[in-house]
């Protein structure tokens, strides 16, 4: 856990230094971002069906989430 905290700490400092802390919104400005449509994966079923097809037809997988596996199709 300490190691993980260390990694997060290091990344946090990097982000603070690179100016990400200037970006963002106040808690009361989150109305739009809280909409279901604004979730990064807002249609998980469609995403998983697509990922499964692409996994079995192409040499790449993952990126957004885990690289997958779980089928003998590739």
């Amino acid at each position: 856990m300490r190691g993980v905290s260390g990694i997060f700490g290091l990344i946090s400092i990097t982000i603070a230094l690179t100016g990400c802390s200037d970006l963002g919104v106040k808690p009361w400005e989150r109305g739009i971002l809280a909409q279901q449509e604004m979730n990064l994966i807002n249609e998980p079923i469609e995403s998983s069906l697509n990922d499964h097809i692409y996994f079995s037809k192409e040499a790449s997988s993952g990126g957004q989430g885990f690289g997958g596996g779980g089928c003998g199709c590739n």
């Binding site: 982000i15 802390s21 971002l33 604004m38 993952g62 990126g63 690289g67 596996g69 779980g70 089928c71």
Partner: protein, 445 residues
């Protein structure tokens, strides 16, 4: 006396500051309540959300067809605490390219089990039509906050088909920063897969026997294993009240049996003469070899995604992925979706473009002069130079009771390319394309 005055002033100042702090706290609490109130209109607390869908997938030229029902149920304990169960079943039928090259002669191939054989006529793409499978996959995930700044998720899955079984566990840890405008996430996935091919595990690069009485068949083991470890490190950043962005770096290692037991390679005659570019023969039979891939693979990818909502409420979702691995494959993927939102309906056109370079050991065929010196080889077009395109359209309709019907239709096109064959092989179609269509129909309640 002076001390007393300064003490009174200090207390007063502290009180004022405390008041301001209290006010700020109150405002924050009120806005948080408002925000969570807004979002809970889409996620009712302590209730089950079910998303059920049905996929039909069909390839041109009677290749693979799939039917795949999915049901996903999520119990929302509160805004951030969720338990999800998902079940997927799929049935595949049809024919799949076996890796051999087409020829100007009829070709006969031993089926994977060695119990039968199948043919490809002159000029026809060799397809293994013994391909049929049913898969069941179950998964579950739990996600919850640890405290104000940390959250976690854990999950597991099991997927089984008659010749393949996969078992996995995963977990992730998130750290919120900058008033939750920045989220750092570390995810880890471990899985163990067992491959039990029809007819046993073939010997890589061994000549494919004519039937199962051959000693190659009798010495086979029943199953092989592979292990996967995936790690994803992600940064999600709120840019402004309408834009959110994510960067991920993912590392995936797999080790063990990574070969496709059903794929083969043709050996082509490269000695000058009348059979130059034809199938090389030994003992009057064409020589085909089982493919063989490395026993480890390290993939890395960089992923970027941005979502933006316009003033008219339409949503743009764009992502890019660069992947590279130690097999020599590099790939680029661009995916874009634009959701036109109307009162209780939406329409979402989608485009995806993917390109990959071939693996180092990819060979469309081997030649008679070098096949005995080859240590790794695969003619699987999915490891060759490949470009793919997807065009899709999704439509959704939300009913008054917040349930939703949706459907999506998409077309997928693949273009393979590579070296032209030698001699008479050059007149054969070595890199056929593929067209398929996908239809999803679903209901959320």
């Amino acid at each position: 006396m002076a001390d007393k005055v300064s003490e009174v002033v200090a207390v007063a100042v502290t009180k004022t500051m405390k008041k301001n702090k209290d006010l700020a706290r109150l405002l924050t609490a009120a806005s948080c309540a408002l925000v969570s109130g807004l979002s809970t209109t889409t996620h009712a607390d302590d209730s089950w959300d079910v998303d059920s869908a049905f996929l039909l997938y069909s390839e041109s030229d009677s290749r693979v067809s799939a039917v795949e029902p999915v049901v996903s149920a999520t119990k929302n304990y509160d805004e951030e605490t969720k338990l999800n169960f998902k079940i997927v079943a799929d049935t595949l039928t049809g024919a799949s390219p076996n890796g051999a090259t087409p020829s100007d002669q009829v070709q006969t191939f031993t089926s994977p089990s060695g119990k039968s054989s199948y043919n490809a006529t002159a000029g026809e793409q060799p397809l293994d039509d013994t391909f049929k499978d049913t898969r069941i996959a179950l998964s579950s995930n739990w996600s919850a906050p640890i405290n104000r700044d940390w959250a976690y998720g854990v999950g597991g899955y099991l997927s089984a088909e008659h010749d393949y079984r996969s078992l996995g566990v995963n977990g992730n840890l998130s750290r919120y920063l900058n008033q939750k405008n920045t989220t750092l996430t570390l995810g880890l996935n471990l899985s163990n897969d067992a491959v039990t091919p029809e007819g046993g595990v073939p010997t890589g690069l061994h000549q494919i026997p004519l039937d199962r009485s051959d000693s190659e068949f009798t010495q086979r083991s029943d199953s092989e294993n592979k292990n996967l470890v995936d790690a994803v490190f992600g940064v999600t950043q709120v840019i402004n009240s309408k834009t959110i962005m994510q960067f991920n770096y993912a590392l995936s290692t797999s080790s063990g049996y990574l070969t496709d037991p059903y794929k083969m390679l043709s050996v082509i005659d490269d000695t000058a003469g009348s059979n130059f570019g034809g199938n090389f023969q030994s003992g009057g039979n064409n020589v085909y070899l089982y493919e063989k891939r490395p026993d480890s693979r390290l993939k890395q990818s960089i992923y970027w995604q941005t979502k933006h909502q316009f003033d008219n409420s339409d949503v743009l979702d764009v992502s890019y992925r660069f992947m590279f691995d130690d097999w020599g494959v590099n790939s680029h993927t661009i995916d874009a979706k634009y959701r036109f939102r109307f009162d209780n309906q939406y329409l979402e056109p989608q485009l995806r473009w993917y390109t990959q370079s071939k693996a180092d050991f990819y060979n469309r065929y081997l030649t008679s002069s070098d096949y005995t010196n080859t240590s790794l080889a695969s003619a699987d077009y999915r490891l060759g130079d490949l470009d793919t395109y997807t065009i899709g359209l999704r439509y959704g309709y939300e009913f008054a009771d917040n349930t939703e019907f949706y459907t999506r239709f998409s077309l997928y096109h693949q273009e393979s390319s590579g070296e032209k064959g030698i001699g008479k092989l050059a007149s054969q179609e070595l890199y056929p394309g593929l067209d398929s269509m996908m239809l999803i129909m679903g209901y959320k309640f």
